[in-house]
């Protein structure tokens, strides 16, 4: 093929590629445009026929209202998410360490059984879970949700850490072991210092999952301990709703995970790819 023909053809394709990509961006961002525009409109100005128009008067009050309504729920979500993410990451790290460096007979089976828990529909354990949380007196509290999210987060954190630690050279572990370090010693001196990227990936992943979770939140919380997802669903589901408030609320609810995603995107993607298969 001649050079000119190749570049010539590639040129036209490249132009098409850019068109498609920009079209894709517009399509993906259209909902966000709508959210922001609606949130900034005055309630009286929100009209289905003028939905696409920019607001005539920029009504920042919706954000203020949403903030007032949502700030206790945001606090709940932050408390829940940060604590649960940290705890499940810690335990997952230890588990991953065991499964990658100290595998024993049956460890793979144990691991598979644990992994299955990641995939189950939570509706199939919802009722017994509810009874259990009520029985231990944590129903309606943030701690109840934290315990639940830690436990159900163990499979994915274990998985991510296990795959991460498998890449740690055994020679390193070997050397430290010969030097006299035991199980915990190796963890403290070798594994843990190397784990920082792993922790970042896991914590970011868990932060996003737990922040966005709805089913457990709506079943196990009371008004005082509601996370933000439940508050938003109830706000938007109200009758004759003035849409500026739910839109502002949606933005507030989405902001933390969105920021985490934008700032830590690389680590976010790693967490995303953790459960998938290579060729």
């Amino acid at each position: 093929m001649s050079e000119a023909a190749v570049t010539g053809r590639r040129f036209s394709w490249r132009w098409l590629m850019y068109v498609l990509l920009v079209g894709g961006i517009v399509a993906f961002l259209v909902p966000i445009y709508m959210v922001v525009v609606t949130a900034l409109k005055q309630p009286a100005a929100i009209n289905l026929s003028t939905a696409w128009q920019l607001p005539k008067v920029w009504n920042w009050a919706s954000f203020q209202q949403a903030w007032v309504a949502f700030s206790p729920k945001l606090k709940n979500s932050f408390t829940l998410t940060i604590i649960a993410a940290l705890v499940s990451a810690m335990i997952g790290s230890l588990n991953g360490y065991v499964l990658s460096k100290w595998s024993f007979r049956g460890s793979k089976l144990m691991f598979s059984l644990m992994l299955f828990g990641m995939f189950i529909p939570y509706q199939s354990v919802l009722i017994p879970l509810f009874s259990f949380v009520k029985a231990i007196g944590l129903y309606g509290t943030i701690w109840g949700l934290i315990v639940v999210h830690v436990i159900y987060g163990l499979p994915i954190t274990t998985l991510i850490f296990r795959n991460y630690y498998v890449d740690v050279p055994d020679s390193l572990v070997e050397a430290t072991s010969i030097d006299g370090a035991g199980f915990f010693g190796i963890y403290r001196y070798v594994i843990f210092p190397l784990s920082v990227p792993g922790f970042v990936v896991v914590i970011i992943w868990q932060f996003t999952q737990i922040w966005n979770e709805f089913l457990f939140a709506v079943t196990l919380s009371k008004t005082a301990s509601q996370p933000i997802t439940v508050a938003l669903a109830q706000l938007a589901g109200g009758e004759a709703v003035k849409w500026n408030l739910p839109m502002a609320g949606a933005l507030l609810a989405a902001l933390p995970t969105l920021l985490v995603y934008i700032i830590f995107g690389r680590f976010f993607i790693r967490g995303l790819l953790a459960g998938s298969v290579k060729g």
Partner: protein, 416 residues
């Protein structure tokens, strides 16, 4: 390590004690779905309560969601979780009785009724609907009417029609209106408004006695008379709008006001909406009539509050209930809400034209209970009635819908 552990334990204990000690003050949690437009009425009652009992901290816990569907689910998890609210809004009648009373979760209020002298202040028909197995289970704070047909008199005059008195006349009137260019003379809204329409049709076709028999199990849904209800319902729906599922009941009312539709069958909260929010004058700007074929019958629903078992402070709740059942309380609440008082001795002068006419009917009409709003049917039935409605709407098959309704009635033990 040990020292750190002890420090941690002591801090935890201190935190625990301080958390517990904060709860010394009396609390009253009122659980309802009165948010948005309906909030001010409840708020006025709460303020009255605060002025009477300043030591009690009132928590006005509302859960938004049309007609209480979300609130009921939240309430369920609360009750199952062993943490009942101090008092919760519930539709008077089977919605309370068939769900919570049979499960032995509510306290009998007969002593309260006797001590407050309410046995003579509420209509007998109402008290019997509130009672079950010898006990009275809630205090009704308001009465709403379900079987009403709303219209704009000026529009009807333009089209040259009058409000029809029977369902057959309704069908004929709609035909006339269609010829005049009104494509959808009847406006309906989302899912539950279909149920609402259905109960007006059923009451009209069956009459109040057979309507009551349906819910005591004496008349089966598969009885030919009951199947006729579905036939009529299908004919009525032929004159309604096809985009109903996207409209809230307020938006449906807006359509009628604008003139895109002639009639709207809705409860009398529509009067509150039109008078307060749309600023129309009852009687002049908008008019009402009993749903076709139901004149002389008042199909009621009532919001009420009860006394759950297992709450921390009975006195605070009992005081709340006393306020709700009192003349003062009901006359504070109802003008703002747009409903009428359940009491027979309320001060009618403070109500608007619609409410006065409603109160007159309340005293004189035969009383029937609404199905969709939980008076004559328990929640286990009404929550599945949507399926029956879906079955009917899919194929307009009356027999299939009737069989489904009967199957549900059998499953929940209707009338037992």
């Amino acid at each position: 390590m040990k020292k750190k552990l002890w420090v941690f334990i002591s801090i935890a204990c201190i935190a625990l004690f301080s958390a517990v000690s904060v709860q010394a003050q009396q609390k009253l949690e009122i659980f309802s779905w009165w948010a948005g437009d309906e909030g001010p009425a409840l708020q006025a009652l709460v303020e009255q309560y605060n002025s009477m009992y300043p030591d009690v901290e009132v928590d006005n816990a509302t859960v938004t969601g049309g007609s209480g569907v979300n609130a009921r689910a939240v309430l369920k998890t609360r009750m199952l979780g062993g943490d009942p609210p101090d008092s919760f809004q519930v539709h008077a009648g089977q919605e309370l009785i068939g769900t919570w009373v049979v499960a032995n979760r509510m306290e009998d209020l007969t002593p309260l009724y006797k001590s407050e002298g309410w046995m003579t202040k509420f209509p007998k028909g109402l008290i019997s609907l509130l009672s079950s197995k010898g006990g009275i289970w809630s205090v009704p704070v308001n009465i709403h009417r379900s079987n009403l047909m709303w219209y704009i008199p000026a529009n009807l005059k333009d089209w040259g029609v009058t409000p029809p008195k029977t369902w057959d006349a309704f069908l004929a009137t709609c035909k006339v209106l269609q010829d005049k260019g009104v494509d959808t003379p009847l406006v309906v809204g989302e899912n539950w408004t279909y149920n609402h329409l259905w109960e007006s049709v059923a009451l009209g076709v069956l009459g109040p006695d057979n309507w009551a028999a349906l819910w005591t199990g004496k008349l089966k849904f598969t009885d030919p008379r009951a199947v006729k209800v579905w036939d009529m319902f299908g004919k009525v729906l032929a004159f309604s709008n096809s985009d109903a599922s996207g409209l809230s009941w307020q938006q449906a009312t807006d359509r009628m006001v604008k003139g895109d539709a002639a009639f709207n069958i809705m409860g009398d909260w529509a009067a509150g909406y039109m008078a307060t929010t749309l600023k129309l004058t009852p009687g002049d700007d908008f008019g009402w009539a009993p749903s076709p074929s139901t004149s002389g019958v008042f199909m009621m629903l009532s919001d009420s509050f009860g006394l759950p078992k297992g709450i921390k402070d009975r006195t605070a709740t009992l005081n709340w209930l006393k306020l709700l059942g009192s003349k003062n309380g009901q006359d504070i609440f109802n003008p703002l809400k747009g409903s009428i008082a359940a009491r027979l001795d309320s001060d009618l002068s403070i109500y608007n034209a619609y409410s006065q006419s409603a109160a007159k009917d309340w005293k004189s009409n035969k009383i029937a209970g609404s199905m969709h709003h939980g008076v004559v049917a328990p929640e286990s039935f009404t929550s599945q009635f949507g399926t029956v409605m879906d079955i009917f709407l899919a194929a307009k098959d009356s027999k299939a819908a009737a069989s489904a309704a009967q199957a549900i009635a059998d499953q929940v033990g209707l009338g037992k």
